[in-house]
Symmetry: D2
Subunit: 340 residues, 4 copies
Amino acid sequence: MTRLFKNDYSELADERIIEAIKKHLNEQHKAYGLDEHSENAKGYIRKTFDVPNADIHFLAGGTQTNMVTISYFLKPYEAVIACDTGHINVHETGAVEASGHKIITCKNKDGKIKPEDIEHQMKLHTDEHVVKPKMVYISNSTESGTIYTKKELEDIRRICDTYSLYLFIDGARLGSALTSKACDYTKEFFGNIADIFYIGGTKNGLLIGEALVIKNKELSECFRYHIKNRGAMLAKGFLIGIEFEEAFKDGLYFELAKQSNETSEYIKEELKKANIVFDSDSPTNQQFIILPNEKADKVIKEFGCELWEKREKEKVIRIVTSFSTKKEDCDEIINFIKEL
Amino acid sequence: MTRLFKNDYSELADERIIEAIKKHLNEQHKAYGLDEHSENAKGYIRKTFDVPNADIHFLAGGTQTNMVTISYFLKPYEAVIACDTGHINVHETGAVEASGHKIITCKNKDGKIKPEDIEHQMKLHTDEHVVKPKMVYISNSTESGTIYTKKELEDIRRICDTYSLYLFIDGARLGSALTSKACDYTKEFFGNIADIFYIGGTKNGLLIGEALVIKNKELSECFRYHIKNRGAMLAKGFLIGIEFEEAFKDGLYFELAKQSNETSEYIKEELKKANIVFDSDSPTNQQFIILPNEKADKVIKEFGCELWEKREKEKVIRIVTSFSTKKEDCDEIINFIKEL
Amino acid sequence: MTRLFKNDYSELADERIIEAIKKHLNEQHKAYGLDEHSENAKGYIRKTFDVPNADIHFLAGGTQTNMVTISYFLKPYEAVIACDTGHINVHETGAVEASGHKIITCKNKDGKIKPEDIEHQMKLHTDEHVVKPKMVYISNSTESGTIYTKKELEDIRRICDTYSLYLFIDGARLGSALTSKACDYTKEFFGNIADIFYIGGTKNGLLIGEALVIKNKELSECFRYHIKNRGAMLAKGFLIGIEFEEAFKDGLYFELAKQSNETSEYIKEELKKANIVFDSDSPTNQQFIILPNEKADKVIKEFGCELWEKREKEKVIRIVTSFSTKKEDCDEIINFIKEL
Amino acid sequence: MTRLFKNDYSELADERIIEAIKKHLNEQHKAYGLDEHSENAKGYIRKTFDVPNADIHFLAGGTQTNMVTISYFLKPYEAVIACDTGHINVHETGAVEASGHKIITCKNKDGKIKPEDIEHQMKLHTDEHVVKPKMVYISNSTESGTIYTKKELEDIRRICDTYSLYLFIDGARLGSALTSKACDYTKEFFGNIADIFYIGGTKNGLLIGEALVIKNKELSECFRYHIKNRGAMLAKGFLIGIEFEEAFKDGLYFELAKQSNETSEYIKEELKKANIVFDSDSPTNQQFIILPNEKADKVIKEFGCELWEKREKEKVIRIVTSFSTKKEDCDEIINFIKEL
C-alpha cells in the first residue's frame, strides 16, 4: 500500500517506545502519574530544557493539554490571545470556550502572532466591560509549519512581561521545531522563554501523551486537582511516563523529529527543483504546496494529503512527514507529483 | 518484591494486548477513532452485548467517560441521580459539577441505589426552583464490590421509564461483574437494560481505554463533536481500537476478568475460614475486610491495600485482585493476614 | 447642569412607568413572573408583534438576556455566528464564552452581518474538529446605529432556514429601530422573522428589564429552569411585568423610542448643515461624528459622549439621545459643536 | 382580599423606597453602579457594619448573588460546604453547579451547619481525587427561620481560619436576623465575622437588589469583571444604589425588618396559646407550624402558605410576615387557625 502523507499521527509508535513498554509489563507501578518512570522522565526533561524548578505533568492529547492548561491559569473573566490560525481557535471544537474562556484573535503572519498585535489588543481591553487578556498562546512549530525565531520569541516575551501575560507555547510539534535547520536557539533557551509549554508526543512517534512543563512550581500548586477535575488524569499515568523516559533519556525524541524534518526537507527540495510552488517556507515536517485543482485532487487521493485551502483554480495541500517516513516513501510522492 | 493488592490498574496490560499493538506497529491508520480496528472492535462489542444498533465510542479513562457522557446527555438545568458512594460523587474531583451539573445523591445500600429512593427524588424535584433529574447513574460492580441483580436492574429500569430518565451504568469493573458467580443475567440482558453503559478497559488488563456504548444511535448524533469539545478525542484512537478488538474478538476481556474474580474469591474463602470479618459480601474482585487498627496497618504497609474506612478501633481495608494476580500471590497475603 | 449625551440608560425611567409601579404598591403578587401584570404584558406584546404562540420571559438586563438565551439554545459544542462588532462579542466580558460557547465572528458592514458571510462560515464548519454553528445573532438597531432592511432580514432568514440555524435578534434598542423613519417593515413582520428576539426596556425608558420573545413555545419548554439556573430569575418578576404592561398597553414604548429618534434626527440634520462628518448614516438614536482630536475631547468633556474610535488626528465620538432628551438639550450640544 | 402569608417578596416595596426613586427621576447618573447614590449607600453600609475597608457591590437577586460570589472565590476544583437545607443546595436549580462547583453538604441542625461537620469534611477531602473545600456557606436567618448565635458564628469562624476557608453568609433575610430578639450580637460584630456576606433587599421591602459586602478589598480586585461576565451587571445600577441609600441612611432597613419580626412573633405567641405545635423555634419572620392534613390545606388555600413538609397525617406549613404585614392581618390568620 502507498505510504500516506496525511499527518504525523497515523502510526502507533516508534519501536523503541513499544519495547520500553514491554520491558515493564510485569511491574506494578504507582498510579496517577506518581510512579518512578514518570519521575525519571521529568528529570530528563528538566535537564534537557534547563528548567530545574519546573513542574511537569503528562496528559493524553493536545486539545486536552491546551484546555486543561488554559482553564487552570485563567480566571473566569480572563481571556487568551492567539492568532486566528491557532489550533485552539480553529481545530478544537470550542474546547477552550467550553471551559469558559474567550480567545481573542489576531491576524497571523505565516502562522505567527506579532508582538504589536498583542499590544494592540491590550490597549483595547482595559475595563470590566470586556474580557481581561491574561495569556498569550502560540504554537511552535506553527500550524503553517513555520517556527518562531529567537528574536520573535524574545519580543513576545517582552510584551508578556510588560502586560503581565502568561506565555504558553503549544509544542505539539516542538521536536520538529527544535531540530529544524532554521531554529536559531537552543533547547535551554526555549525552555526558559515561556511560562508554560508542552512537548508533543503524539505527533512525534509516541503512542500517546504530551508533557506539560510549567516553568515555575509556584504557579501550579493545585494542578493535579485540575487535571482530575477535567477528566484528564490517567490511572495508568506510568504508561506516558515510560514513553517519555525512553524518549528523553538519550535523545530519541529529537532523533525521531529529525527524521521527520529531513524527509520533509528532501521533499521540499526535490519539488522546488520541479518548480512546484509552496504556500509557505516551512523548515519543519509540514509542507504546503499549491497545485491546480485536478492535480491536487490526484495527490490527495493517492497520498491522503489534507486539503488546506481552496482557491479559485488551485488548492493548497499539506504534505506531512513523520518519525517513520523513509526516503523511498518520499520518492514516491515526489515522482508522483513531478509526473502529474 | 511483594505483589501489591492496592488496585487493578497498577500494571500496564496483559501480554496479548501488547502483542496486538506490536503487530500493527508499521501500519498507517485513520486517525480519531475512524480506523478499521475500532470498527472491528465495535462489531465484536455489539455482538457480545446484543446491541446491533448501538453507537460506540472509545475514551481514555473512567472519569473522562463519566463526565463526557453526563454532560452530553444533560441540559444545563438537568441533574443526575447517584448513590452517595457513586464514583462520580466521591472520587472525581467535581468533574461532573465542573461540567455544570448537580449530582443528586441517595444513601447507598451495599453500594447500590434503591428504586424507591430514585422515586422519592423525583417527587421532590418537580418545579423550576430545583434541578430537573434526567439521568440515573449506577456502577456495576459497585464501589463496594457488589453487583446488581437482574431484578434490581429491572426495577431501576422501570422507574427510569416511568420518569423518562436515562439509565447510565458505569462499567469500570463491568468484566468483573459479568463474570461473577453471583451474576444472574447474561451479557445480552445487560447490554439492553441501560441507555448508556461503558466497558472498562483500564481496570481489566488493557493499557488504556473504556468503550462507551450508547444503545440507540438516535441519542448520540453529535457525540463526536462533544468528545472533541471536552478534549477527549485521541488522535491515535486506533490504539484503543486495537486493544478492544483484541479483548473482544474471542473473549479475552472476560478471561481477564475471571482471573481477577477467581483469585479474589480464593482470598475471600481462605480468610473466611480464618474468621476474618468482611465489611460487605463481594462476589467480584474487591474484598473489604475489617481488622484491628494495628493489624490493618501492617497489611496496608506490606500489600499496599487502600484504607477504606477508619472506625474507632478498627479499619476497613480493601484487597483488590487483577487480571494478573496469581494464586501464589494470594497465598502470600492470606498467610500474612492469618499470621498477624 | 449640562444634559449628557453619553448613553440612553442614565435615567431611572419615564414618569408613567414609575406611576404604574406606585399604583400597585400595596398589592400582593405571585412571585417569579407568574403574576397577572406579567401575563397582561405578554398579551400586549404577543398582539403588538403578531406572535400569538410566543413564549415570553422578562429578564433584568441585556447581557444577561443574551447569555441566558444563547446558552439555552446551544448544546456544548454548538456556536453562535455574530458580526465582529456584535455586543456579545465585544461588550459582555466573555459572558457567552463563560457559558461555554464560541462566537464565530464575521466582519461587519455598517454594524451588520452579511448573509454570504454566514454561508461562508457554514462551509468552513462541517466536521467534529470544529464547532457546529447553530445560531445567528444580530442586533437591531446595531451597535453602529444602523437598522436592517426588510430584504436584509429576509435574506438572513433564508440562510438560517437553509442551514437550520436559529435567528436571534438582540433588541436592546428595538424601539428605536422600529420607530425609525428608515424602517421599511411592520412590527408584525419583525415579530415573525426571528426565532427569538428581545425587546429592550433598559435603553428605552424603563427602570429595568428586557422582554425575551421566543416565537414558538415548543422551543422553550424548560426555559424557566434555565433562567433560574443562570441566577436570572427575579423573585419580584412582577416589577418588570408592571413596566412592560404599562409600556405596551397603549404604545408608550414606541412613543418613548420616537422621542429619542426624533431628537437624534434633529441633531444629525443640524450638524450636517454645519458640515460635521458622520462615521455612519444612522437613522436611530445614536449618531457617530468625526472630529479633530481636540474638538472631540471638548465635546466628550462637556457632554459625556463616548469615544468610539481613535484615529490618527481624529476621534469618532458617539452622541446618544434617549426617551427624555428634549429639543433644547439638543440645541446645547449642536451649538457647542458648531462653535468649537 | 385576604392578606397572604406566602412569602416576604410579594409586594413591590416600601413607600419610602419608591419615593426615593421618584425623587431622582430626572437626574442623569453614571451607569453600571458607579454613581453617587451607590457610593453613598456603600458608605452607610460600611459604617453600619463597621467594615471601613469593605468592597461592596449591588446585585439583582439572591441566587445571582450566591452564584456570582461563589464562582468568583472558588477555583474550578474547589468546593463550597453547606448544610443540606442550604438555599444554594435546594432552591437554586443547580446554579452553583452550573458555575462549575460542587456543594459538599452536611446534615443541618435547625437549619444550621455544625463546626464539627465542617471539620469532618475537611478530613475527608485531602487529596486531588476529591474536590478541595475552600468556602463555608451559611445563611442567617436560616431556611428554618433560626439564627446563629454569637458563639456558633465564632466557632465556625475558627474552623474556617484553621482550614483557610472563606466564610460566606447569605443574608437574604439578614435584617430579620439582626433585629430578632434572639440575636446576641451587634451589627458591627456580624460585619466582621464573615469574609463575605450579603444584605438582602428583595425580602426586606426593597424593589430589587442585594448588597454584597466583601470585607477586604484585596480579595475582590476584579469582581466587577466577574459580575459582568456572569450577566449580572445592571446598566442602571443606580436604581439599587438609590434604594440602599434610602434603606441605610437612617435605619429604614432595620425598621422594616423589625416590623416583619414583630408581626411574626405576635402570630407565634397567639398560636402557641392556642396549642398549635411549631416545627422549629423561630425568632424571625418565618414560622413553621404543624397541622393535621385537612386543616393545613385550608390554611394553605386561604393564606397562600407554603407547604414545607408532608408527613403521614400532618403537614408542616410556613407562615411568613413581611415589612408590610399589619397586626390586623395577623389576627385574620390567627383566628382562622384557632377556629379550624
